[in-house]
């Protein structure tokens, strides 16, 4: 099944929870969904007889960096407003089709519903996105930092306006 057909199915089923379909991009198209409805959508995508998306290939957080850019007193970039996104790449091993989903959340208060209960694979992926971007996944059973140390206080490293601290536990970080 093509992404367009799946988009039509989802739109009749979920109505205004499906926000759009981006297909002009080269290579891959996206179905944009409501971050608070993503779990229901994913559950439907997994369980429906004609769709059967049984694996989550990849879940990536992205800093869209589309907010207002300014400089602080140390001449470092600061971004206010705009969005943080999460991309889901789904695959059906049984039926052999693929689909991509995208949700966007405001940068100041990023909240997305967790799909951990749909695919266990999402557990660590979501923890990684939380660690790197600060996106909060609601109803995630164990949302902690995964890669960075648990006492890391300097924010979320993969955000575009991230500033690295000078010291961590007495060790100098910059070269």
């Amino acid at each position: 099944m093509t992404s367009e057909e799946i988009y039509n199915i989802l739109q009749t089923k979920f109505g205004d929870k499906i926000l759009g379909f981006e297909s002009e991009l080269p290579v891959e198209s996206y179905i944009v969904a409501d971050p608070m409805a993503i779990k229901d959508i994913c559950l439907y995508l997994r369980n429906d007889e004609n769709l059967k998306f049984d694996t989550l290939m990849c879940l990536s957080g992205v800093d869209d960096a589309n907010g207002e850019k300014s400089k602080d007193e140390e001449d470092m970039d600061v971004i206010t407003g705009g969005t943080l996104s999460v991309y889901y790449n789904l695959d059906s091993i049984e039926l052999g089709h693929k689909i991509n989903l995208k949700v966007s959340t405001p940068r100041e208060d990023p909240k997305v519903e967790s799909v951990e209960s749909v695919w266990k694979c999402a557990d660590w992926h979501e923890r990684e996105v939380f660690d790197m971007f600060g996106t909060v996944f609601l109803n995630h059973p164990d949302l902690r930092r995964i890669l960075m140390p648990e006492d890391w206080e300097a924010g979320y490293p993969l955000r575009k306006d991230y500033k690295n601290p000078e010291f961590y536990q007495g060790m100098k970080i910059p070269y």
């Binding site: 960075m148 140390p149 490293p157 991230y162 536990q169 060790m171 100098k172 970080i173 070269y175």
Partner: protein, 163 residues
């Protein structure tokens, strides 16, 4: 120290300085902590395996820091790992030696600029005896590093510790 080896062939009484005897014993059986960090650890494994055979220099991996003489920092040291390496180092009995293997543990390597979670050189945490450059160093380079370390041990004195 070749002199001491020859002495054994000719007679069964050896007269040598305590220092030389100690140093000879130490440099001939450097037991390394079997501890791999990253890419360089694979080259370290290759060095201990059949083709390059680390064992002929008396280097045997020991899993416990309390039985180890040397530690080869083989790979990128991250901030999360640095505190643990320090503890491993502190657990080793004296005399202890450190070979820093590869660019990452020498100075941060390719991660020096944007590595927000990479320690730029293990010498910021523990003292290093021999630096082996390369990314990753070939097994021959690591062997050369070991020979350099042996050379260093050979000239140690009991009166003052150099490392």
């Amino acid at each position: 120290m070749g002199l001491l080896d020859r002495e054994f062939n000719e007679s069964n009484i050896v007269i040598a300085k305590t220092e030389d005897l100690f140093n000879w014993a130490r440099l001939s059986s450097i037991w390394q902590l079997s501890f791999g960090l990253a890419c360089c650890a694979i080259e370290m494994m290759a060095t201990s395996a059949s083709h390059y055979d680390f064992d002929r220099f008396g280097v045997i991996p020991r899993p416990s820091p309390r039985q180890a003489d040397a530690i080869i920092i083989s790979g990128t040291v991250t901030l999360k790992m640095a505190t643990r390496i320090k503890r491993l180092y502190e657990q080793m009995p004296d005399p202890k030696y450190i070979i820093s293997m590869g660019s990452c543990s020498n100075c941060g390597g390719p991660y020096w600029e944007h590595g927000y979670h990479v320690l730029k050189g293990i010498d910021r945490v523990i003292p290093v005896d021999v630096y082996v450059p390369g990314c990753p160093p070939r097994p021959e380079a690591l062997l050369e590093g070991l020979l350099k370390l042996q050379d260093k041990i050979r000239h140690e004195t009991l009166r003052k510790k150099t490392a």
